[in-house]
Symmetry: C2
Subunit: 400 residues, 2 copies
C-alpha cells in the first residue's frame, strides 16, 4: 500500500485560498503586539441587522429541525417579494436556497460541467471560482483584463475566441470581486447575445449587486432576453452583513437547471435553518439597512480613493462597486511585499494586511505588482491603513 496515493487529482491540486494563506504571518505579527488593519478579506465590520439576529432565535423547547432542501417556504416567499421589490422578475420556482453563494456556485458548476468542460471568466477573478471549477471537474479559462482600462469587460470577440467545443458557460462577477469594476449595460448585453449565439449559460455572481457607487445596481435579469441563459448566484452575506449565516441562492428561469441543483440539494438535506430564520427578519424591511450600509461604503470608497491618490507610484482605477479594489503598487513582488508588511514592517506598532495579486490570476506572472484592497473598515481606521501602506511603500526595500 502506498501512503501517498489516497488523494484524487482534486484532492492533490485544489489550491489553498490566496486570501487566507498569509494568516500564519498575521498571527505571528499579532503575537508580537502589532496591530493589523485587515484589508485582505471581505469580512465587513457592519453590525448584522437587529431584525436578523432577533429572528434567528429559537426559544428553548423548540426543535432546530431541517428546513426543506429547497429552503423554508416562508423564506423563499420572502426572497420572491424582495426580488420583485427591486425590479427583478423572480418566481418561487426559479429559486433554490443554498448554503451561501459558495454552495450555489459549486452546485451550478456541477450541474453544467462534465470533467473536461470549460468555463470562461475574466481575469483577475475571485480565486474560489478556480477551486470550485476543479471540484466540479471543469477547467476555468481566463480572459485577461487590464488595470489601465479599469478591468472593463473584454469585447465579445475576445470571449468568442476563447470558446471551444467544451465551453459550457461564461462566469461573471458584477460588480467584480476582486477588481471593483461595474460592468456596463452595453457590455452585459453583448455577453448575453454571445452566450445565446453559442448555446452557453451565463453565470452571474451578483452577491455585491447593491454595492454600487458609480451608476445604479444592474442585475443580469434586466438585460432583455438574458433570462434564457442567466443563472444568478446571490447571497445574504454581504447585503445584510451576515457572512456567518451561510445563506445564498441560485436563481434561474432554466428550470431544468433548478431541477438538477435541487436534486443535489436533497442530498445535503437542508440549508442552515437559523440563518434562514434570520434572513426572514432581514427581508422584512431590507431597504433602510441596505441604503445606510451602501452610504457607509460609499464614504469608505471616497476615503480610499482620496488616500490612495496621495501615494506616488500607485495606480488605482476608479472603485465602482463591491468593496474591493485591485491596485497597482510600485513593488517588485506583491507576494513579497505583503509578507514583508507582516514580518518586517510596523509604524507605531501597526501594519496593514493586503491580498497579493497573483492569487487572483491564472496567467503566470500576472498581478505581481497588484494587491486586492478590501475596504471593509470605518473611515478613520481605513484612512490610517492606507497611510500605513504609504509609509510601508517608502520603507520597502523592493520598491520599484
Amino acid at each position: 500500500m502506498s501512503t501517498s496515493s489516497i488523494l484524487s487529482y482534486r484532492g492533490k491540486n485544489a489550491p489553498a485560498s490566496p486570501i487566507r494563506k498569509l494568516e500564519p504571518l498575521a498571527r505571528a505579527a499579532a503575537e508580537r503586539g502589532t496591530k493589523i488593519y485587515h484589508l485582505n478579506i471581505g469580512q465587513p465590520d457592519i453590525p448584522t441587522p437587529a431584525s436578523f439576529l432577533q429572528k434567528a432565535r429559537l426559544e428553548p423547547g423548540n426543535v432546530l429541525s431541517y428546513s426543506p432542501s429547497v429552503g423554508l417556504y416562508p423564506y423563499r416567499k420572502a426572497l420572491v417579494d424582495y426580488y420583485t421589490g427591486i425590479g427583478m422578475p423572480v418566481a418561487e420556482r426559479d429559486i433554490l436556497v443554498t448554503t451561501g453563494g459558495s454552495e450555489a456556485l459549486l452546485f451550478v458548476l456541477m450541474a453544467l460541467c462534465d470533467p473536461g468542460d470549460e468555463v470562461i471568466t475574466p481575469e483577475p477573478y475571485y480565486p474560489n471560482y478556480g477551486t470550485f471549477s476543479m471540484m466540479a471537474g471543469a477547467t476555468l479559462r481566463t480572459l485577461p483584463t487590464r488595470i489601465e482600462d479599469g478591468f472593463r469587460l473584454p469585447p465579445p470577440a475576445d470571449f468568442a475566441a476563447a470558446i471551444t467545443p467544451r465551453t459550457r458557460a461564461i462566469l461573471l462577477c458584477n460588480p467584480s470581486n476582486p477588481t471593483g469594476t461595474l460592468y456596463s449595460r452595453d457590455a452585459l448585453t453583448a455577453v448575453v447575445a454571445l452566450a445565446k449565439q453559442h448555446g452557453l449559460m451565463l453565470i452571474c455572481d451578483e452577491v455585491y449587486r447593491d454595492f454600487v457607487y458609480a451608476g445604479t445596481p444592474l442585475s443580469i435579469l434586466s438585460i432583455p432576453g438574458a433570462a434564457d441563459v442567466a443563472i444568478i448566484i446571490d447571497s445574504l452575506s454581504k447585503r445584510f452583513s451576515a457572512c456567518g449565516a451561510r445563506l445564498g441562492c441560485i436563481i434561474s428561469q432554466r428550470h431544468e437547471l433548478i431541477d438538477a441543483v435541487t436534486r443535489f440539494a436533497m442530498a445535503r438535506l437542508s440549508p442552515p435553518t437559523l440563518g434562514q430564520l434570520g434572513g426572514l427578519g432581514a427581508l422584512e424591511d431590507p431597504g433602510p439597512f441596505v441604503s445606510s450600509m451602501i452610504a457607509e461604503f460609499r464614504r469608505r470608497r471616497d476615503v480610499l480613493m482620496e488616500e490612495l491618490a496621495k501615494l506616488p507610484g500607485v495606480l488605482a482605477p476608479e472603485a465602482q462597486g463591491a468593496f474591493y479594489l485591485m491596485t497597482r503598487l510600485p513593488v517588485d513582488s506583491s507576494e513579497r511585499f505583503c509578507a514583508w508588511l507582516l514580518n518586517d514592517f510596523s509604524h507605531q506598532g501597526e501594519t496593514v494586511m493586503l491580498a497579493p495579486g497573483p492569487g487572483f490570476y491564472q496567467t503566470p506572472g500576472s498581478g505581481q505588482d497588484e494587491v486586492r484592497i478590501a475596504y471593509v473598515l470605518g473611515e478613520a481606521p481605513l484612512r490610517r491603513a492606507v497611510q500605513l501602506l504609504g509609509h510601508a511603500l517608502q520603507a520597502y526595500p523592493g520598491r520599484k
Copy 2:
C-alpha cells in the same frame, strides 16, 4: 443552440431523494385533512438542548461573521474535549468542521476519488451516498446484505471480491441508516485489516454512534490500527437534535486528507457560525442530554418492536442502533404501498408515511417488499403509527 444540453451527466442523472419524493402526495393528503405520522424521515421531535439555543444567540450590535474555514477555534477545542471524553483519540489537527455530515461526505469522496474511481458500501445504504458519489464522479459499488441476517456486515471475502483497481474506499454507516444494524467489533476489525491490506481508506459514517440499544457505542477509532485508514464522518444533527444547525466534521489521522478537505473548505469560506456557537453550548455538558435522549429512543425502539411483532407477515430484524429499521412487509410493492398509504388509506382520519425500500438499493428489484421506518415519534404516536400500519396492511389490495 440546443435547450436540452445544458446539464452535465451529474446534473441529468443525480437522483431525487427517495425519502423526500413522496412529499407531494403527503402534502395532498394533509390538505384533505388527513393526519400523517411521519416515520419516513430522520427528523426527531426531541427539543434541541436549551444550552445550544441559548449559545446560538448573538445580541444586536454583533457581526455575524465568517468563522475560520476549519471551524471556530473554541468549537474545535470543544470537539477535541468531547471526543477525548468519550474515549476517542482525536486531536485538533485531525478535525475539519463541516456544514453537516453531508458536506463532510462530499468533501471526503472528492478528496479520494477521481472520475471512475469506486467506493464499496453494503446495501441497503443511505441513498445520499449514491448522490454524493455521483457528484464526486465516483461509482458506488454495493455489497448485498440480507434482512434474514439482520443486515450484518458481509464477510471480508465478499468485500475482497468487489475490489477492483479503481476501488479507493469502503464506506460504512455504523450504526446503520437505513437498517438499524450495529456492526460487531469482530466484523469491523476484519474490514480494517482488509482496507489496510488493499490500500483502501475506510470511511465511517458515525453520526448515529450514540444511538445504540444492544451493546455499547463503537467508534472505528477503537479498533487497533484503524487510525491508518479511518475517516470518520460525524454530525451534531442527531446527537443534539439540531439537524437545522448544519454542523458536522471530518476526523482523520491521515493529515494529507485533512489538508485536502481543508483546501476545499477554504473555497466555501466558513461553516455556519450560529450553529457553531450553539454547538459550543451543547458540548459544555453533553452527557445528560445524550443519555436521556438515548433512553427515550430505547423506549421508542421497544414500542416499535413490540407493535411490529403483532403484525402478521411482517419481518422486523432487531433494531440495534440509529433510529431506523428496514422492515419487510407483506406487500406486492413498497413503492405502491407507501403511495397508497397517502393517496387512498386513512383510519379515523389518520395515516402513516414510510420510506419505500427500493430507494435504499442499487440492485434492481431489491427492497420491493421493504420499507425504512424512522422511529422518531414519542411512544403514544409511534404506537398509533404502527397500529395504523397494521390496519393498512389488512386493507391494502396488493397484500401478499
